[in-house]
Structures are given as C-alpha cells and as structure tokens.
C-alpha cells in the first residue's frame, strides 16, 4: 500500500469514527444501560438496538440506504397527517393500544426519514457552531445528571419521589389532563417536524 493510499484510508477511518459519532453512540448506549437499570426494559432494548444499528452503520461506512432522496409532500398533507396523529394522541387513553400504535408508527417513520439523506444548510461560522455545541452539551448533560441524581435519590432516600421529583414525575399530572396533554403533544410533533427539517418554508 502506498503512503497516499494509507493516508486516505486513515482519513476515511477518522471520518467514519468521528468524535461526534462515537459520543452520540456512547450517549445512546448509556441511555440503554440506565433505562435497563431502572426497569424500563423496552426502552433499554430500543436504545441498545439503536446503538448497535449505528455501530454497524459506521462499520459499513454508511453504505446502507433506505431512501435515495428526502421525500416531499404538500405542506397541507403533512400538517393534516400530523394533526390527525396529534388528535389521536390527545383523545386516546395514555397507556392504551392506540397511543402505542401512533407513537410506534411515528418512531418507524422518523427513523426512516432520519436515516435518509439530508439537505445541507447554509452554515454559521464553524467557531460559532463549535461554541454552541459545547454550551448546549453542557446544558444537556447538566439536565441529565440532575435528573439522574433526582431519580437515584427518589429510590434510595426516605423523601421518595415527592422529595426528589424527576421531570417525569413532575409532568405526569399534566400528561393525564387532556388540555395540557394537547399542548405537550403539539410541542412534541412540531419539534419533530422542525428536527426533520420538513414542513417549514424554504430558507434563503
């Protein structure tokens, strides 16, 4: 192998196992372990499976494609579908089969969409992006650690979940009431549309 080929191989390997890829897979694997430990076995299996799929994707150099290009649909069709799903999630019993089917179907669809190619966005300066990544990572990790601390103390200290409430415990009453559940459902679905970068007008 020539020096040039070796250097190209190292560059491909570095791109394949970039720091962000490794960190995100580690985050998902950590989530899998934490969910399994707290007894949410389905959540644990899902996160373990996702971590494994992403490892395989990195090992195969991202060659497996599910979509050739991002699918498009008229905005009114998109919002009609999302509105119907939202209405079902608000009207159906929270832990019932309809909620299970809707949330699961959303999961499958967004996985396929997220796996597919994306349209490159006009970037901010790299330094601004890097700072933002660092600041939001600190905020996100801070929230996760505080939540984990509250959860561990809630199951080990005598004050229990009243004295050490997790976000789930705090939001439970809101999710049980249809009006506040409607707000949460709308925020969740619109957040998903924004993350998938669909349904919003073209930017200049």
């Amino acid at each position: 192998m020539s020096g040039g080929e070796a250097a190209a191989g190292r560059a491909r390997e570095a791109e394949r196992w970039s720091a962000s890829s490794v960190l995100w897979i580690a985050v998902l694997a950590t989530m899998a372990g934490f969910q399994t430990w707290r007894g949410a076995y389905v959540d644990g299996v899902l996160f373990f499976a996702l971590s494994a799929v992403l490892v395989v994707d990195r090992l195969t150099g991202g060659r497996v494609q599910l979509l050739r290009r991002p699918p498009t649909a008229p905005r009114w069709v998109l919002f009609a579908i999302v509105g119907t799903l939202g209405a079902l999630l608000v009207a159906a019993p929270r832990h019932g089969p309809v909620s299970f089917l809707v949330v699961s179907a959303v999961g499958v669809v967004v996985f396929v969409l997220a796996w597919g190619p994306t349209v490159a966005q006009p970037p901010r300066p790299a330094r601004a992006i890097r700072r933002s990544v660092i600041v939001w990572s600190i905020i996100g990790v801070g929230l996760c650690l505080w939540e984990a601390l509250a959860f561990i103390l809630s199951v080990t200290a005598p004050q229990g979940s009243f004295g050490f409430p997790t976000v789930s415990v705090l939001l439970d009453p809101a999710v049980e009431h249809w009006a506040s559940r409607a707000v949460l459902v709308a925020a969740w679905l619109l957040g998903g549309l924004a993350l998938l970068d669909i349904g919003r007008p073209e930017r200049a």
């Binding site: 962000s20 890829s21 995100w24 985050v27 998902l28 989530m31 430990w37 707290r38 959540d43 899902l46 996160f47 996702l50 992403l54 994707d57 991202g62 999630l89 929270r94 832990h95 909620s99 949330v103 959303v106 999961g107 967004v110 996985f111 997220a114 796996w115 966005q121 970037p123 901010r124 300066p125 330094r127 601004a128 992006i129 700072r131 933002s132 990544v133 939001w136 905020i139 801070g142 929230l143 505080w146 959860f151 103390l153 199951v155 004050q159 229990g160 979940s161 009243f162 050490f164 409430p165 705090l170 439970d172 999710v175 559940r181 459902v185 969740w188 957040g191 998903g192 993350l195 970068d197």
Partner: protein, 77 residues
Amino acid sequence: MIPAETTRAIILFGYIVVAVTAVVTELLARRRPDGLAPLGDMLDAVMESRTTRVAVIAAWWWFGWHFLFAPTVQLEL
C-alpha cells in the same frame, strides 16, 4: 433528616436553573449568531451526520414514547 419539602425545592430550583440557562443562551445566540450559533442553526449543522441525526431524532422520539404512552416506572431498591 432534611424535610421532603426542602429537598423538593432544591431539585425544582435545579431544573429552573437549567431552563433559565437554556433560554438565556438562546437569547444571547440570537443577538450574536456569528459568535454563538442559535440552537436551530447548531442542530442543522451537526445533524448533517447520520449518526447525530438518528441519535437526536431518537432522543426526541423517546420523549413522546415516555410521556405520551409508557407508564412511569419507579424502581424499588
């Protein structure tokens, strides 16, 4: 033993600090987006990687799964 009301207030204060920090960060970023990219622009940039995109979308989806369907699991130790 510290009363449960006190520990609850401390935990809630922590969540509020995180929320306020997030809001202030985003407001600062929108004032000077070329110094600190707003959250949306940062996500646009990092989500060009498939691994990051799938992981971020999975985290978002899990919130829906957790809050809108799955019962809250309380571990007994």
